[in-house]
Symmetry: C2
Subunit: 125 residues, 2 copies
DNA sequence: CCATTGTATTCCCGTAAGGGAATATGTCAA
DNA sequence: TTGACATATTCCCTTACGGGAATACAATGG
């Protein structure tokens, strides 16, 4: 089981700088033709088309077919899992650092260093 | 310029399921030896070691040297950029959808479909 | 119908990266 | 010091993936 392909896993899809840039552009100026992105990002046209293909398959971007010049739309809901996952560690970089460390240690002691389940109970799996 | 290596770009580092799982475990039960993760995740020991190496290099994880049995710690601040980036699109999956679409269209009209800068002004670049 | 334009696709190549097995390293115990 | 244990590293192999060039495809305008 290798890495989940970019066209399936959102985390993997946005692991590419240019794709993140594309999403940013689309989010900034809503519906946009591929050609605009080509000019804007200064990338070769096939590259943009491929990246858009990945983003489309993974659901980060939706395409509105308009004849010769299809227009791309951000589907940001797909990015929510990323946000939620990272947000799950918010308390770790915030001020409540000590609080959660205490909790963690309490749990650790309670279980005597041998977890019974193979899944973290905290969630955000 | 290919994809930024996993040991440099956080987005790419967490694009791997197992690494996310490792981070989750560490966040759940604070300091933890590599061996515990091996048992917990059911992965071969070298795999866990390698993944921890990546996470360490990218800064998502810190290691506390303890002789034979070094202990790993989550360094969640490194994940904040991911959170922030995704959060930048929060308004797109929320209720303010129409609001931002209006704004975007206004800008689009104001600039007559030809962006002058090569960077999105919205930020989160 | 044909030419033009914009976009998607294909082919080939190079490389990063993960898996598995074996091995090295390093630490603690006796 | 030697042996046992835990972790890190190396080697080889396979594959996903991005780049570049060329091409195919679709739609529109003449």
């Amino acid at each position: 089981m290798l890495r989940v392909p970019t066209t399936v896993d959102v985390f993997n899809a946005i692991a590419e700088r240019r794709r993140r840039a594309i999403v940013e552009w689309l989010a900034w100026q809503e519906p946009m033709a591929a050609g605009v992105l080509v000019v804007a990002l200064g990338l070769p046209q096939p590259a943009v088309s491929k990246h858009l293909g990945v983003l489309r398959k993974v659901g980060v971007v939706a395409v509105i077919e308009q004849g010769n010049c299809p227009v791309y739309n951000p589907e940001a809901e797909t990015l929510k899992p990323v946000h939620d996952w990272a947000k799950g560690f918010e308390e770790l970089w915030g001020h409540q650092l000590d609080r959660i460390k205490e909790r963690a240690e309490q749990r650790a002691h309670a279980e005597t260093e041998s977890p019974t389940s193979l899944e973290p109970r905290k969630g955000q799996a």
